[in-house]
């Protein structure tokens, strides 16, 4: 199964909705509207020729400069019989980061989405238990967004102008 076949099959089904098809380092990737994320996942899962039935990874990326589409949720899928990988992204605004959850389709999506929520604050609608997973519950920001600092703010001994802070 070549990337062209996957692409034509997807366009056949979703038409103009899917955009930005490109192939980088041998992997097909495209963008989907955020309302369609579950439909795309379900189609890729159910379709007899595609059979993308292994969810490799879910993560997110923060692009503070893209106003209205600051957060991208990235899905990596794999067809284990033909060993084809696929990536697609959905974009959402940071003001209303609501995205449908994939937990009904993949049990593995549960913690991946919790992690994505923990880091980026993406609100997965319909997730059974969307709470912080790696950070403390009291944390009141989403640390992997670009505007938040990496360093521990309580530290005062590192103030070297050239190297430290």
């Amino acid at each position: 199964m070549t990337n062209e076949q996957i692409q034509s099959r997807l366009i056949e089904k979703f038409g103009e909705a899917l955009t930005n098809f490109e192939e980088s380092y041998g992997m097909l990737s495209f963008h989907a509207p955020k309302e369609l994320n579950l439909k795309v996942l379900q189609f890729l899962y159910d379709d007899e020729t595609l059979q993308f039935r292994f969810l490799t990874d879910i993560t997110a990326v923060h692009y503070p400069d893209q106003v209205g589409a600051e957060l991208a949720v990235v899905y990596h899928l794999q067809n284990l019989t033909t060993r084809t990988r696929l990536r697609f992204k959905i974009f959402t605004s940071v003001a209303s980061p609501q995205v449908f959850t994939a937990t009904r389709l993949y049990a593995s999506a549960n913690w991946m989405e919790r992690e994505t929520y923990d880091f980026f604050g993406i609100d997965f609608v319909g997730h059974p238990n969307l709470i912080r997973i790696l950070n403390v519950d009291e944390m009141d920001y989403f640390p992997l967004r670009k505007e938040f600092p990496l360093e521990d703010q309580t530290r005062v001994d590192k103030d070297d102008d050239m190297f430290g802070r």
Binding site: N135, V136, E151, D152, K158
Partner: protein, 187 residues
């Protein structure tokens, strides 16, 4: 004919403390005897969280053998142990747990911070990592390294033995010690 049993003849005993001896008696101070006994039968509590914990596994197993220093018996309960060995990164989520474990230990208790992360946060100067365990509990010995080699852990352990052996029995009741504990909010 050789004996069927072999005896280990290379036993090294601890030197007796200074004191007065005569026929049928030996007199010395309590401090020294208790210190000697404690230093050579430390019960460590391994609080291993990450990479340094794996090096500690190597320290414990046959090749490096921490048991040679009288620490054969790892207590896995804080109630029975007198040396807390903190090995690995302590995150802010783990901090209260570490403190709780420390509070559960009975006096006298010692703490050794093994590795850069436990000593200072190491390379992880990040929002989620505690910048050294001495922010939540007092530490006696720091072992540098990322992770320290087993030899370094053994060296740190021997430093603890020195501290334990020389400790005055009154230290834990001194005002200085109480002030130290109070600075950590421990009564």
């Amino acid at each position: 004919m050789a004996r069927p049993v072999q005896y280990n003849t290379k036993i090294k005993t601890v030197e007796a403390p200074q004191g007065y001896s005569g026929e049928g008696f030996f007199a010395t101070s309590f401090d020294k005897v208790i210190g000697m006994a404690r230093a050579n039968s430390i019960w460590p509590l391994p609080f291993a969280t990450s990479c340094c914990g794996i090096e500690f596994m190597a320290t414990m197993s046959a090749h490096y053998d921490l048991g040679r220093f009288g620490a054969e018996r790892l207590g896995f309960t804080p109630r029975q142990c007198d040396l807390l060995m903190v090995m690995g990164t302590i995150s802010k989520k783990m901090g209260p747990v570490l403190r709780q474990v420390y509070l559960q230990m009975a006096e006298p208790r010692w703490v050794i911070a093994v590795g850069a992360c436990a000593s200072s946060g190491g390379i992880f100067d990040t929002y989620s990592v505690l910048q050294g365990i001495d922010q939540v509990i007092p530490v006696d010995v720091y072992v540098p390294g990322c992770p320290p080699r087993p030899e370094a852990i053994l060296d740190g352990f021997m430093r603890i033995q020195e501290l334990v052996g020389q400790e005055s029995l009154r230290r834990r009741h001194s005002d200085q010690y109480k002030a130290l504990m109070n600075s950590y909010g421990i009564e």
